[in-house]
Protein backbone atom coordinates (compact mmCIF):
# COMPACT_ATOMS: atom_id res chain seq x y z
CA UNK A 1 0.00 0.00 0.00
CA UNK A 2 1.42 3.37 -0.94
CA UNK A 3 0.34 4.87 2.34
CA UNK A 4 2.68 4.16 5.23
CA UNK A 5 0.95 3.02 8.37
CA UNK A 6 1.82 6.25 10.19
CA UNK A 7 0.40 8.44 7.46
CA UNK A 8 -2.67 6.30 7.27
CA UNK A 9 -3.35 6.50 10.98
CA UNK A 10 -3.37 10.28 10.45
CA UNK A 11 -6.21 9.87 7.99
CA UNK A 12 -8.39 7.88 10.34
CA UNK A 13 -7.06 9.39 13.57
CA UNK A 14 -8.04 12.89 12.44
CA UNK A 15 -11.43 11.50 11.61
CA UNK A 16 -11.61 9.62 14.90
CA UNK A 17 -10.47 12.48 17.12
CA UNK A 18 -12.92 14.93 15.66
CA UNK A 19 -15.71 12.45 15.61
CA UNK A 20 -15.13 11.16 19.11
CA UNK A 21 -15.46 14.77 20.15
CA UNK A 22 -18.58 14.83 18.04
CA UNK A 23 -19.66 11.50 19.49
CA UNK A 24 -19.44 12.98 22.93
CA UNK A 25 -22.04 15.41 21.77
CA UNK A 26 -19.91 18.55 22.10
CA UNK A 27 -20.94 19.61 18.68
CA UNK A 28 -24.60 20.12 18.45
CA UNK A 29 -27.67 17.93 18.43
CA UNK A 30 -28.30 14.40 17.12
CA UNK A 31 -27.49 15.63 13.67
CA UNK A 32 -23.88 15.84 14.78
CA UNK A 33 -23.50 12.19 15.68
CA UNK A 34 -22.92 10.65 12.27
CA UNK A 35 -24.79 7.53 11.57
CA UNK A 36 -22.58 4.88 13.15
CA UNK A 37 -20.35 3.03 10.70
CA UNK A 38 -20.77 -0.74 10.99
CA UNK A 39 -18.62 -1.87 13.98
CA UNK A 40 -15.27 -3.44 13.00
CA UNK A 41 -16.19 -7.10 13.16
CA UNK A 42 -12.78 -8.42 14.07
CA UNK A 43 -12.63 -6.52 17.33
CA UNK A 44 -13.11 -9.62 19.53
CA UNK A 45 -11.64 -12.23 17.18
CA UNK A 46 -8.44 -14.23 17.74
CA UNK A 47 -5.81 -13.78 15.04
CA UNK A 48 -3.73 -16.82 13.98
CA UNK A 49 -1.02 -16.90 11.35
CA UNK A 50 -1.44 -19.54 8.64
CA UNK A 51 -0.55 -20.30 5.03
CA UNK A 52 -3.19 -20.48 2.29
CA UNK A 53 -4.11 -24.13 1.53
CA UNK A 54 -4.44 -23.74 -2.19
CA UNK A 55 -1.43 -23.05 -4.45
CA UNK A 56 2.33 -23.18 -4.03
CA UNK A 57 2.95 -19.44 -3.79
CA UNK A 58 2.51 -19.97 -0.06
CA UNK A 59 0.68 -16.74 0.76
CA UNK A 60 0.56 -15.85 4.42
CA UNK A 61 -2.96 -15.48 5.81
CA UNK A 62 -4.45 -14.23 9.06
CA UNK A 63 -7.20 -16.55 10.28
CA UNK A 64 -9.63 -14.77 12.60
CA UNK A 65 -11.63 -17.09 14.80
CA UNK A 66 -13.96 -16.30 17.61
CA UNK A 67 -15.92 -18.29 20.17
CA UNK A 68 -18.24 -16.55 22.56
CA UNK A 69 -16.25 -17.94 25.49
CA UNK A 70 -19.05 -20.20 26.71
CA UNK A 71 -17.77 -23.39 28.35
CA UNK A 72 -18.01 -25.71 25.41
CA UNK A 73 -18.58 -23.33 22.56
CA UNK A 74 -16.40 -24.27 19.60
CA UNK A 75 -14.38 -21.49 18.00
CA UNK A 76 -15.33 -20.84 14.36
CA UNK A 77 -13.33 -19.14 11.66
CA UNK A 78 -15.03 -15.77 11.09
CA UNK A 79 -12.69 -14.10 8.59
CA UNK A 80 -9.50 -14.71 6.63
CA UNK A 81 -7.36 -12.06 4.99
CA UNK A 82 -3.76 -11.72 3.84
CA UNK A 83 -0.85 -11.40 6.27
CA UNK A 84 0.78 -8.04 5.47
CA UNK A 85 4.00 -9.11 7.14
CA UNK A 86 4.52 -12.09 4.80
CA UNK A 87 7.04 -10.88 2.19
CA UNK A 88 5.73 -13.25 -0.50
CA UNK A 89 2.21 -11.89 -0.77
CA UNK A 90 2.37 -8.71 1.38
CA UNK A 91 -1.21 -9.14 2.60
CA UNK A 92 -2.74 -9.79 -0.83
CA UNK A 93 -4.72 -12.93 -1.71
CA UNK A 94 -6.28 -14.23 -4.93
CA UNK A 95 -9.93 -15.10 -5.48
CA UNK A 96 -9.45 -18.49 -3.82
CA UNK A 97 -7.42 -17.35 -0.82
CA UNK A 98 -9.73 -14.42 -0.19
CA UNK A 99 -12.65 -16.86 -0.08
CA UNK A 100 -10.87 -19.58 1.88
CA UNK A 101 -13.18 -18.93 4.83
CA UNK A 102 -15.72 -20.65 2.60
CA UNK A 103 -13.46 -23.73 2.50
CA UNK A 104 -13.00 -23.92 6.28
CA UNK A 105 -16.75 -23.48 6.88
CA UNK A 106 -18.04 -25.17 3.69
CA UNK A 107 -21.31 -27.05 4.00
CA UNK A 108 -19.55 -29.81 2.00
CA UNK A 109 -16.99 -30.42 4.75
CA UNK A 110 -17.06 -34.08 5.71
CA UNK A 111 -18.32 -34.39 9.27
CA UNK A 112 -18.01 -38.02 10.35
CA UNK A 113 -16.77 -41.39 9.02
CA UNK A 114 -19.16 -43.04 6.58
CA UNK A 115 -19.08 -46.47 5.01
CA UNK A 116 -20.56 -47.83 1.80
CA UNK A 117 -21.19 -51.55 1.67
CA UNK A 118 -20.48 -53.30 -1.66
CA UNK A 119 -23.44 -52.83 -4.02
CA UNK A 120 -25.18 -50.33 -1.72
CA UNK A 121 -26.40 -46.99 -3.08
CA UNK A 122 -25.74 -44.92 0.04
CA UNK A 123 -23.19 -44.09 2.71
CA UNK A 124 -23.95 -45.04 6.28
CA UNK A 125 -22.48 -43.33 9.28
CA UNK A 126 -20.00 -45.47 11.23
CA UNK A 127 -17.66 -44.98 14.18
CA UNK A 128 -13.96 -44.28 13.77
CA UNK A 129 -13.24 -47.52 15.63
CA UNK A 130 -15.28 -49.59 13.17
CA UNK A 131 -13.73 -47.88 10.13
CA UNK A 132 -10.09 -47.97 11.23
CA UNK A 133 -10.25 -51.52 12.56
CA UNK A 134 -11.80 -52.79 9.35
CA UNK A 135 -9.38 -50.85 7.11
CA UNK A 136 -6.38 -52.23 9.03
CA UNK A 137 -7.74 -55.77 8.72
CA UNK A 138 -8.47 -55.41 4.99
CA UNK A 139 -5.01 -53.97 4.40
CA UNK A 140 -3.25 -56.69 6.35
CA UNK A 141 -5.29 -59.36 4.65
CA UNK A 142 -4.39 -58.05 1.18
CA UNK A 143 -0.73 -57.53 2.14
CA UNK A 144 -0.30 -60.99 3.61
CA UNK A 145 -1.94 -62.56 0.55
CA UNK A 146 -0.01 -60.58 -2.12
CA UNK A 147 3.30 -59.66 -0.45
CA UNK A 148 6.31 -60.43 -2.75
CA UNK A 149 9.29 -61.23 -0.54
CA UNK A 150 11.56 -62.42 -3.38
CA UNK A 151 11.27 -61.85 -7.13
CA UNK A 152 11.67 -64.49 -9.85
CA UNK A 153 15.46 -64.23 -9.64
CA UNK A 154 15.41 -64.88 -5.88
CA UNK A 155 16.35 -61.29 -5.01
CA UNK A 156 14.78 -60.03 -1.73
CA UNK A 157 12.39 -57.30 -2.88
CA UNK A 158 9.84 -57.08 -0.02
CA UNK A 159 7.25 -55.22 -2.07
CA UNK A 160 3.46 -55.07 -1.89
CA UNK A 161 1.97 -53.80 -5.15
CA UNK A 162 -1.67 -54.81 -4.89
CA UNK A 163 -2.60 -51.75 -2.84
CA UNK A 164 -1.93 -48.12 -3.69
CA UNK A 165 -1.76 -44.91 -1.69
CA UNK A 166 -2.41 -41.56 -3.36
CA UNK A 167 -1.00 -38.99 -0.94
CA UNK A 168 -2.38 -35.51 -0.34
CA UNK A 169 -0.35 -32.63 -1.74
CA UNK A 170 -1.92 -30.24 0.71
CA UNK A 171 -0.91 -32.23 3.78
CA UNK A 172 1.76 -30.63 5.91
CA UNK A 173 5.36 -31.85 5.68
CA UNK A 174 4.94 -33.54 9.05
CA UNK A 175 1.79 -35.40 7.95
CA UNK A 176 3.49 -36.23 4.64
CA UNK A 177 6.59 -37.62 6.33
CA UNK A 178 4.55 -39.67 8.79
CA UNK A 179 2.48 -40.98 5.86
CA UNK A 180 5.70 -41.95 4.07
CA UNK A 181 6.97 -43.78 7.16
CA UNK A 182 3.75 -45.66 7.80
CA UNK A 183 3.08 -46.56 4.14
CA UNK A 184 6.55 -47.25 2.76
CA UNK A 185 7.34 -49.53 5.72
CA UNK A 186 4.54 -51.84 4.49
CA UNK A 187 6.38 -52.25 1.14
CA UNK A 188 3.85 -50.30 -0.94
CA UNK A 189 5.40 -49.13 -4.25
CA UNK A 190 2.20 -47.58 -5.63
CA UNK A 191 2.68 -44.44 -3.50
CA UNK A 192 2.04 -41.28 -5.51
CA UNK A 193 0.90 -37.67 -5.14
CA UNK A 194 -0.54 -34.83 -7.21
CA UNK A 195 2.95 -33.82 -8.40
CA UNK A 196 2.66 -36.66 -10.88
CA UNK A 197 -0.53 -35.42 -12.51
Amino acid sequence: MAVTRRQFMKVSAAGLAASSVGALGFMGAGEGLAAGVRPFRLEKATETRNTCPYCAVGCGVLVYSSADGAKDSKARVVHIEGDSDNPINRGTLCARGAASLGFANSVNRLQYPVHRKPGSDKFERVSWEFAMERIAKLAKEDRDKNFIAKNRDGVTVNRWVSTGFLAGSACSNEAGYLTYKAIRSTGILALENQARI
Binding site: V3, S12, A35, R38, P39, F40
Partner: protein, 301 residues
Amino acid sequence: MSVMQAFDLRRRSASSVPPPAAGKQAAVPVAKLIDVSKCIGCKACQTACLEWNQLDQPIGYTDGTYDNPTDLTTASWTVMRFTEYEHGDDLEWLIRKDGCMHCDDPGCLKACPAPGAIVQYTNGIVDFISDNCIGCGYCVKGCPFNIPRISQVTSKAYKCTLCSDRVVVGQAPACAKACPTQAIYFGTKDDMIAHAGKRITDLKSRGYQNAGLYNPQGVNGTHVMYVLQHADRPSLYAGLPDNPRISPLVGIWKGVMKPLSLAAIAFAGAFGLMHYVTKGPNKVTEHDEEKAAEVAGSDKA
Protein backbone atom coordinates in the same frame (compact mmCIF):
# COMPACT_ATOMS: atom_id res chain seq x y z
CA MET B 1 -12.01 2.59 21.85
CA SER B 2 -15.74 2.49 21.51
CA VAL B 3 -16.96 0.00 19.02
CA MET B 4 -19.41 2.47 17.58
CA GLN B 5 -17.01 4.16 15.25
CA ALA B 6 -18.12 7.34 13.68
CA PHE B 7 -16.92 9.51 10.87
CA ASP B 8 -17.70 13.17 10.46
CA LEU B 9 -20.30 13.94 7.87
CA ARG B 10 -19.71 16.28 5.01
CA ARG B 11 -23.10 15.78 3.44
CA ARG B 12 -26.28 14.07 4.58
CA SER B 13 -29.18 13.15 2.31
CA ALA B 14 -32.46 15.05 2.60
CA SER B 15 -31.14 17.32 5.32
CA SER B 16 -31.65 21.01 4.99
CA VAL B 17 -29.36 21.69 8.00
CA PRO B 18 -25.72 21.32 6.85
CA PRO B 19 -23.87 18.69 8.99
CA PRO B 20 -21.69 20.27 11.72
CA ALA B 21 -18.43 19.08 10.21
CA ALA B 22 -18.94 21.05 7.05
CA GLY B 23 -17.13 24.00 8.51
CA LYS B 24 -14.38 22.14 10.36
CA GLN B 25 -11.02 20.97 9.05
CA ALA B 26 -12.01 17.95 6.93
CA ALA B 27 -10.35 14.55 7.37
CA VAL B 28 -7.84 13.82 4.60
CA PRO B 29 -9.88 12.73 1.52
CA VAL B 30 -9.14 9.12 0.66
CA ALA B 31 -9.38 7.40 -2.69
CA LYS B 32 -9.21 3.93 -4.21
CA LEU B 33 -7.23 3.82 -7.44
CA ILE B 34 -7.98 0.97 -9.85
CA ASP B 35 -5.17 0.59 -12.37
CA VAL B 36 -6.92 -1.36 -15.15
CA SER B 37 -3.57 -1.92 -16.90
CA LYS B 38 -2.34 -4.00 -13.93
CA CYS B 39 -5.64 -5.82 -13.36
CA ILE B 40 -5.53 -9.55 -14.21
CA GLY B 41 -9.25 -10.09 -13.66
CA CYS B 42 -8.65 -12.71 -10.94
CA LYS B 43 -11.76 -11.56 -9.01
CA ALA B 44 -9.93 -11.52 -5.66
CA CYS B 45 -11.68 -8.19 -5.07
CA GLN B 46 -15.06 -9.82 -5.65
CA THR B 47 -14.57 -12.72 -3.25
CA ALA B 48 -12.81 -10.52 -0.67
CA CYS B 49 -15.79 -8.16 -0.82
CA LEU B 50 -18.31 -11.01 -0.60
CA GLU B 51 -16.47 -12.50 2.39
CA TRP B 52 -15.77 -9.30 4.34
CA ASN B 53 -19.31 -7.98 3.98
CA GLN B 54 -20.82 -11.45 4.48
CA LEU B 55 -22.87 -11.09 1.30
CA ASP B 56 -24.96 -14.06 0.20
CA GLN B 57 -24.99 -13.80 -3.61
CA PRO B 58 -26.80 -16.82 -5.07
CA ILE B 59 -24.81 -19.07 -7.42
CA GLY B 60 -25.95 -18.34 -10.99
CA TYR B 61 -25.14 -19.72 -14.44
CA THR B 62 -22.53 -18.83 -17.02
CA ASP B 63 -23.73 -16.87 -20.03
CA GLY B 64 -20.57 -17.78 -21.97
CA THR B 65 -18.51 -14.85 -20.67
CA TYR B 66 -16.23 -14.51 -17.65
CA ASP B 67 -18.62 -11.95 -16.10
CA ASN B 68 -19.98 -13.66 -13.00
CA PRO B 69 -22.36 -12.45 -11.72
CA THR B 70 -23.24 -10.61 -14.92
CA ASP B 71 -24.24 -7.37 -13.12
CA LEU B 72 -23.97 -5.61 -9.79
CA THR B 73 -26.64 -6.91 -7.40
CA THR B 74 -27.72 -6.18 -3.84
CA ALA B 75 -25.29 -8.93 -2.77
CA SER B 76 -22.47 -8.29 -5.27
CA TRP B 77 -21.16 -4.78 -4.73
CA THR B 78 -18.33 -5.16 -7.21
CA VAL B 79 -18.14 -7.22 -10.41
CA MET B 80 -15.49 -7.60 -13.08
CA ARG B 81 -16.55 -6.56 -16.60
CA PHE B 82 -14.52 -8.23 -19.39
CA THR B 83 -14.27 -6.58 -22.82
CA GLU B 84 -12.48 -8.12 -25.79
CA TYR B 85 -11.29 -5.03 -27.70
CA GLU B 86 -10.02 -5.91 -31.18
CA HIS B 87 -8.30 -3.22 -33.22
CA GLY B 88 -6.53 -4.25 -36.39
CA ASP B 89 -4.45 -7.32 -35.73
CA ASP B 90 -4.09 -6.53 -32.04
CA LEU B 91 -6.38 -7.77 -29.30
CA GLU B 92 -6.70 -6.35 -25.85
CA TRP B 93 -8.63 -7.83 -22.97
CA LEU B 94 -9.87 -4.86 -20.98
CA ILE B 95 -10.99 -5.91 -17.52
CA ARG B 96 -12.66 -3.27 -15.35
CA LYS B 97 -13.70 -3.65 -11.72
CA ASP B 98 -17.17 -2.07 -11.65
CA GLY B 99 -18.64 -0.65 -8.46
CA CYS B 100 -19.51 2.56 -6.68
CA MET B 101 -17.29 5.48 -7.77
CA HIS B 102 -17.86 7.40 -4.51
CA CYS B 103 -18.36 10.65 -6.36
CA ASP B 104 -17.27 13.85 -4.69
CA ASP B 105 -20.71 15.28 -5.63
CA PRO B 106 -22.83 12.13 -5.21
CA GLY B 107 -25.93 12.01 -7.40
CA CYS B 108 -27.45 9.33 -5.16
CA LEU B 109 -27.22 11.56 -2.11
CA LYS B 110 -28.64 14.50 -4.01
CA ALA B 111 -31.65 12.46 -5.19
CA CYS B 112 -32.32 10.67 -1.90
CA PRO B 113 -35.49 11.90 -0.14
CA ALA B 114 -34.84 10.08 3.15
CA PRO B 115 -32.87 12.06 5.73
CA GLY B 116 -29.57 10.37 6.64
CA ALA B 117 -30.10 7.39 4.34
CA ILE B 118 -27.06 8.39 2.28
CA VAL B 119 -24.15 10.18 3.89
CA GLN B 120 -20.80 11.40 2.68
CA TYR B 121 -18.02 11.43 5.23
CA THR B 122 -15.44 14.16 5.26
CA ASN B 123 -12.91 11.74 3.77
CA GLY B 124 -15.09 11.42 0.69
CA ILE B 125 -16.62 7.98 1.24
CA VAL B 126 -20.33 7.80 0.28
CA ASP B 127 -22.19 5.32 2.44
CA PHE B 128 -25.74 3.93 2.54
CA ILE B 129 -27.17 3.91 6.07
CA SER B 130 -29.73 1.13 5.75
CA ASP B 131 -31.67 2.09 8.88
CA ASN B 132 -32.83 5.32 7.22
CA CYS B 133 -33.30 3.95 3.71
CA ILE B 134 -36.94 3.80 2.55
CA GLY B 135 -36.24 1.79 -0.63
CA CYS B 136 -37.68 4.38 -3.04
CA GLY B 137 -34.95 3.89 -5.70
CA TYR B 138 -34.33 7.61 -6.18
CA CYS B 139 -30.61 6.91 -5.70
CA VAL B 140 -30.76 4.70 -8.79
CA LYS B 141 -32.04 7.73 -10.72
CA GLY B 142 -29.49 10.04 -9.19
CA CYS B 143 -26.41 7.88 -9.85
CA PRO B 144 -24.59 8.68 -13.12
CA PHE B 145 -22.97 5.19 -13.10
CA ASN B 146 -26.04 2.97 -12.44
CA ILE B 147 -24.56 1.43 -9.30
CA PRO B 148 -27.17 1.26 -6.45
CA ARG B 149 -29.38 -1.85 -6.31
CA ILE B 150 -32.67 -2.12 -4.41
CA SER B 151 -33.35 -5.37 -2.58
CA GLN B 152 -36.72 -7.03 -3.19
CA VAL B 153 -36.37 -8.59 0.27
CA THR B 154 -35.40 -5.71 2.53
CA SER B 155 -36.50 -2.82 0.26
CA LYS B 156 -33.16 -1.17 0.97
CA ALA B 157 -30.51 0.13 -1.38
CA TYR B 158 -27.07 -1.51 -1.39
CA LYS B 159 -23.70 -0.63 -2.90
CA CYS B 160 -19.96 -0.71 -2.20
CA THR B 161 -19.26 1.08 1.09
CA LEU B 162 -15.53 1.47 0.35
CA CYS B 163 -15.29 -0.65 3.53
CA SER B 164 -16.02 2.36 5.73
CA ASP B 165 -15.98 0.01 8.73
CA ARG B 166 -12.37 -0.94 7.87
CA VAL B 167 -11.18 2.51 6.84
CA VAL B 168 -12.46 4.00 10.09
CA VAL B 169 -10.02 1.81 12.04
CA GLY B 170 -7.13 2.46 9.67
CA GLN B 171 -7.44 -0.64 7.48
CA ALA B 172 -7.56 -0.67 3.68
CA PRO B 173 -10.77 -1.78 2.00
CA ALA B 174 -10.98 -5.57 1.63
CA CYS B 175 -10.57 -5.43 -2.16
CA ALA B 176 -7.52 -3.14 -2.02
CA LYS B 177 -5.94 -5.35 0.66
CA ALA B 178 -6.53 -8.52 -1.36
CA CYS B 179 -5.64 -7.34 -4.88
CA PRO B 180 -2.64 -9.52 -5.84
CA THR B 181 -1.07 -7.12 -8.33
CA GLN B 182 -2.07 -4.03 -6.26
CA ALA B 183 -3.99 -2.85 -9.30
CA ILE B 184 -6.36 -1.65 -6.58
CA TYR B 185 -4.48 0.87 -4.44
CA PHE B 186 -5.85 2.76 -1.47
CA GLY B 187 -4.62 5.87 0.28
CA THR B 188 -5.10 9.61 0.40
CA LYS B 189 -6.53 11.02 -2.82
CA ASP B 190 -3.40 13.10 -3.44
CA ASP B 191 -1.17 10.06 -3.05
CA MET B 192 -3.37 8.09 -5.41
CA ILE B 193 -3.26 10.84 -8.03
CA ALA B 194 0.54 10.96 -7.66
CA HIS B 195 0.75 7.16 -7.96
CA ALA B 196 -1.51 7.26 -11.00
CA GLY B 197 0.84 9.77 -12.57
CA LYS B 198 3.72 7.33 -12.26
CA ARG B 199 1.61 4.53 -13.70
CA ILE B 200 0.54 6.70 -16.64
CA THR B 201 4.15 7.57 -17.39
CA ASP B 202 5.00 3.86 -17.41
CA LEU B 203 2.04 3.09 -19.68
CA LYS B 204 3.00 5.84 -22.07
CA SER B 205 6.50 4.34 -22.22
CA ARG B 206 4.89 1.09 -23.34
CA GLY B 207 3.04 2.72 -26.24
CA TYR B 208 -0.26 3.67 -24.67
CA GLN B 209 -0.26 7.32 -25.74
CA ASN B 210 -3.73 8.00 -24.38
CA ALA B 211 -3.17 6.45 -20.97
CA GLY B 212 -4.71 8.68 -18.34
CA LEU B 213 -6.54 9.09 -15.04
CA TYR B 214 -10.33 8.75 -14.95
CA ASN B 215 -11.42 11.20 -12.28
CA PRO B 216 -14.49 12.74 -13.97
CA GLN B 217 -15.07 16.36 -13.07
CA GLY B 218 -18.73 15.97 -14.10
CA VAL B 219 -19.26 14.75 -10.54
CA ASN B 220 -16.49 16.96 -9.14
CA GLY B 221 -14.02 14.05 -9.24
CA THR B 222 -14.46 10.64 -7.66
CA HIS B 223 -12.94 8.84 -4.67
CA VAL B 224 -12.66 5.72 -6.81
CA MET B 225 -10.50 6.51 -9.81
CA TYR B 226 -9.26 4.44 -12.74
CA VAL B 227 -5.99 4.46 -14.60
CA LEU B 228 -7.03 3.53 -18.14
CA GLN B 229 -4.82 2.57 -21.05
CA HIS B 230 -7.33 4.34 -23.31
CA ALA B 231 -8.43 7.26 -21.15
CA ASP B 232 -9.66 9.01 -24.29
CA ARG B 233 -12.43 6.38 -24.72
CA PRO B 234 -13.67 5.22 -21.30
CA SER B 235 -16.77 3.67 -22.86
CA LEU B 236 -14.50 0.97 -24.31
CA TYR B 237 -14.40 -0.47 -20.80
CA ALA B 238 -17.86 -2.07 -20.76
CA GLY B 239 -19.74 1.21 -20.84
CA LEU B 240 -17.79 3.36 -18.41
CA PRO B 241 -19.47 6.75 -19.06
CA ASP B 242 -17.33 9.07 -21.20
CA ASN B 243 -18.23 12.18 -19.15
CA PRO B 244 -20.54 11.23 -16.36
CA ARG B 245 -22.53 13.93 -14.60
CA ILE B 246 -25.64 14.04 -12.54
CA SER B 247 -28.45 14.09 -15.09
CA PRO B 248 -29.78 17.62 -15.66
CA LEU B 249 -33.25 16.20 -15.09
CA VAL B 250 -32.15 15.18 -11.60
CA GLY B 251 -30.60 18.60 -11.28
CA ILE B 252 -33.90 20.24 -12.00
CA TRP B 253 -35.89 17.77 -9.98
CA LYS B 254 -33.74 18.15 -6.93
CA GLY B 255 -32.55 21.63 -7.49
CA VAL B 256 -34.32 24.94 -7.85
CA MET B 257 -37.72 23.33 -8.41
CA LYS B 258 -38.00 22.36 -4.76
CA PRO B 259 -38.07 25.81 -3.14
CA LEU B 260 -40.03 27.27 -6.08
CA SER B 261 -42.72 24.65 -5.72
CA LEU B 262 -43.06 25.17 -2.00
CA ALA B 263 -43.16 28.88 -2.59
CA ALA B 264 -45.88 28.47 -5.20
CA ILE B 265 -47.99 26.40 -2.86
CA ALA B 266 -47.40 28.80 0.01
CA PHE B 267 -48.25 31.71 -2.29
CA ALA B 268 -51.44 30.06 -3.51
CA GLY B 269 -52.53 29.47 0.04
CA ALA B 270 -51.60 33.00 1.07
CA PHE B 271 -53.36 34.45 -1.98
CA GLY B 272 -56.54 32.65 -1.08
CA LEU B 273 -56.32 33.86 2.50
CA MET B 274 -55.64 37.47 1.47
CA HIS B 275 -58.39 37.31 -1.11
CA TYR B 276 -60.88 36.05 1.41
CA VAL B 277 -59.83 38.66 3.94
CA THR B 278 -59.96 41.53 1.49
CA LYS B 279 -62.88 40.56 -0.65
CA GLY B 280 -64.97 38.78 1.88
CA PRO B 281 -67.14 35.80 1.12
CA ASN B 282 -69.22 35.55 -2.07
CA LYS B 283 -72.68 35.34 -0.46
CA VAL B 284 -76.03 34.47 -1.96
CA THR B 285 -78.19 37.59 -1.33
CA GLU B 286 -81.88 37.83 -0.49
CA HIS B 287 -82.38 39.28 -3.91
CA ASP B 288 -80.93 36.12 -5.47
CA GLU B 289 -83.32 33.95 -3.46
CA GLU B 290 -86.29 36.01 -4.58
CA LYS B 291 -85.25 35.93 -8.22
CA ALA B 292 -84.80 32.15 -7.84
CA ALA B 293 -88.25 31.83 -6.28
CA GLU B 294 -89.65 33.75 -9.19
CA VAL B 295 -88.12 31.40 -11.66
CA ALA B 296 -89.17 28.41 -9.57
CA GLY B 297 -92.64 29.83 -9.02
CA SER B 298 -93.40 30.79 -12.64
CA ASP B 299 -92.68 27.35 -13.70
CA LYS B 300 -95.11 25.91 -11.27
CA ALA B 301 -98.12 27.04 -13.26
